[in-house]
Each structure stands twice: as C-alpha cells, then as structure tokens.
Amino acid sequence: MSIDVTQIGKQFGTFTALSDVTLHVPDGQLVALLGPSGSGKTTLLRVIAGLETPDTGRVHLAGQDVTHAGPGERGIGFVFQHYALFKHMTVFKNVAFGLKVKRGAARPTAPAIRDKVMRLLSLVQLDWAAGRYPGQLSGGQRQRVALARALAVEPRVLLLDEPFGALDAAVRQELRDWLRQLHNELHVTSVFVTHDQEEALEIANRIVVFNAGRIEQEGRPSDVYHYPASAFTYRFLGRANLWQTGPHGQTLVRPHDLRLSPEPAPGTVPAQIVRIHQVGPTARLELSRAGDLPSLEAYLPARDAQPFQVGQQVHVTPTAQQTYPVTPS
C-alpha cells in the first residue's frame, strides 16, 4: 500500500516539529526515516499512524485520504521503541489482542485466532514463549513479540519507531537482518525511524534524511550516500574530513577516499601519521597537516596500511570529494 503525505506541518508549542513535508512511499518499499533527534522523523511516523494529528497537510494511504481517520481504521501496524507490550497479558494474548478486539463478522473464531497467533509466534521463533509474560523475556525477544502483534492484524503498512534503539549491538544486528528477511517474504510497505545511518543504509530500499523538521534529501541508499545534497547529509551519513575551505565553499572527503603515498605527486598534500589504529580488516590512520589545515582521518584496507608507520611523512590525495557552500549556522 502506497503512502502519500502532502505538505504536513506540525507545531508543539513554539517548537516546529514538521514544516511543509511532502513524501511519497511506493507500495512494497522498506523506507528509513533518518535524522538526528528532534529532526521530526518520529513525528512524521506518528502522523502517518494517526497517533498525531497534523496542523496542516493531508495523509493518503493507497490513494485514500485518512488524515482524520483513527489509528485503528488505517490498516497499519506500529512497533514502538520500548516494545509497549501489555504487561498483564501473556505473549499469546498480546499477539491475539488485535484479533480479539475485532467486532462482529470480522472477528475470527477462537481456533482460527489460536492458529494464526501460533503461526506468527513461530515466524518470530517464539512459539515456546506463548505462555510467558513480557517481563520474563529479553529485549530482543520482546521486540519480536511486538512485531508479531503488529503483524497479526495483517497491516498494509508497517511503521516502526526506532525498533532496535533499545537493544544491544549484537542483538540489534540480528534483528536488522531478520527485519530485512521478513520484508523480503511479506513485501508489506514498511517505514522505520532511526538515527543510525548504518542501519538505514543497510536495510532500507529508500532513505529519507530529516533535518530540523524538513526533508533534507530522499533517494536510494547508494545515491544518498554517494551524492549527498548538502554538507549536513554528507556529515550525517558517515565520517567526513574537512579537506579545505576555498572560494566555492568547504570540500569534504570520506576517510576511505584518501590515498596515501610515501612520495609526493601532483595534487598531493604533505602530512604526518600521528596514530595508526588497526583492528579487523580496516586500518584507521590519523594525519596532521602543516599550517592550520585541519587534521585528517584515513581508512585503508589492512594490507594497504602495512608499509606505513607512526611518525612517517606521507603525501595525501583525495580520490573522491564533495564541495558545499559554507552556510552560516
């Protein structure tokens, strides 16, 4: 089911959470809303869900205007950062909730509910926990229950608010893979909010970058990563070295786009290696340049970094770079 939000604006007191946001999400996509905290990404997700009413603008789901529909009438599933499970119900009852509150003919029979809940619980590998209470499960398990609960009502759109934000790094990685696989199987249009650019780049089909209540950029992960439209996006999507500030603005370089050689060549800049940190396949080198040029960080594959030593004089050149006008901030 496609999602269209048109010129959405939302104020909280004097704080502008969203300002003139327009976004189209095609059917079946997995979209990441990415931005720093307070940039409006969660507010937009809650507007789509109907948990927040926009001050201006419209929300359409599958072409239908739902701006004033309640969250229960939109055919959405919502997953909260802190799980929001019903503590006084077992895992089974949590997942069955959405089916049991259906009215009249829409409500499945008890055996049908049981079948469906157990199918969902085995999908999230938690069929053994049906009789447990949420308090007896780990964070990762709770979030899987929350996902099963959201899927039980067969939503046409799945909305996830920082779904992995409260989890440990290892569990987070596992659930990311798992969400991607789930999306590949079910193909339900999904939108998730994150402030972790790696997470967004890894699992989303499309990325929407937020900054101060506006959409800064939108596109495929590789496009957004390789062609950031602004210095803000460039810096937010990965580490950035300030190569130089010239008449056209500031030139930024990613640490893995720096090439080091022992000999000078046209276009290279001299620098000294201050620190080499190597763990795993990538070596991180800290370089200081002469004068008041800012220091640089370079990432090299471990084998390319072997000839270099701390204290050595090297010559640096960027293999890719972006120049942005300097904006007064």
Binding site: G70, G72, I76, G77, F80, A84, L85, K87, V101, V153
Partner: protein
C-alpha cells in the same frame, strides 16, 4: 498513569481497539491496584469525616447522619453503651481498611519488580 500508560494505549489503538476496549482491557488492568487503593483511602476519609458533615448535614437521625455524627449524638444523649458500640464499629472499619491497604501495597510492590 501518564508514565506507564501512553505507549500501551497507543499500541491498543493501532491494533484496532476502540477507546472503550482500550480502557477496559489495557488501562484498567494496569491501574486497578492504584484505583482500588484510591477508593479505599477515599472511603476511609469519607467515613471518618466529622466537622464538615456536622455543619452541613443538619444531623437528622436516620437520614443525614453518619457514623461519627451518630457517635456524638448517642454520647450527648448519655447512651454510652450504644455510643461505644458504634465507635467500635468505626474502629473495626479502620482496621479493615488498614489490612486492605497493606495487602494492596504488597501486591503493587510485587508487580513493580
């Protein structure tokens, strides 16, 4: 209520529950102990209130009299035995309330850990 409730209730709404279903199935079970606690403490206070009732009610026996007023009336009429009997009843209520209060505090204490 604001602290623990919002996410739960929003989750229920997104799952298609009506406002009433959300209230009875999610909000109430979460606050039932706090609610019962409030009701009991409030009843205890109401039961024991004297001054305000005395001024407002007019003390019409069997109509606008409460137990504490009744104690006073009986006492002023020198029906000492009856007065003490009613007072004992009040004391019994007080003990019952205390026991209930302790029970609920133990319950909610357990639920929070």
């Amino acid at each position: 209520m604001q602290a623990q409730g919002r996410d739960d209730e929003e989750a229920a709404l997104t799952l298609g529950a009506s406002g009433w279903q959300t209230f009875t199935r999610v909000t109430l079970p979460n606050i039932r102990w706090a609610l019962l606690y409030g009701v009991i403490i409030c009843s205890a206070r109401a039961l024991g209130e004297f001054g305000a009732v005395s001024v407002v009610s007019g003390k019409i026996r069997g109509l606008t009299s409460t137990l504490p007023l009744h104690v006073e009336i009986l006492y002023n009429e020198y029906q000492t035995v009856a007065a003490f009997a009613v007072a004992s009843l009040l004391a019994l209520f007080a003990l019952l309330t205390l026991a209930l209060k302790a029970l609920i505090e133990a319950r909610t204490g357990r639920a929070h850990t």
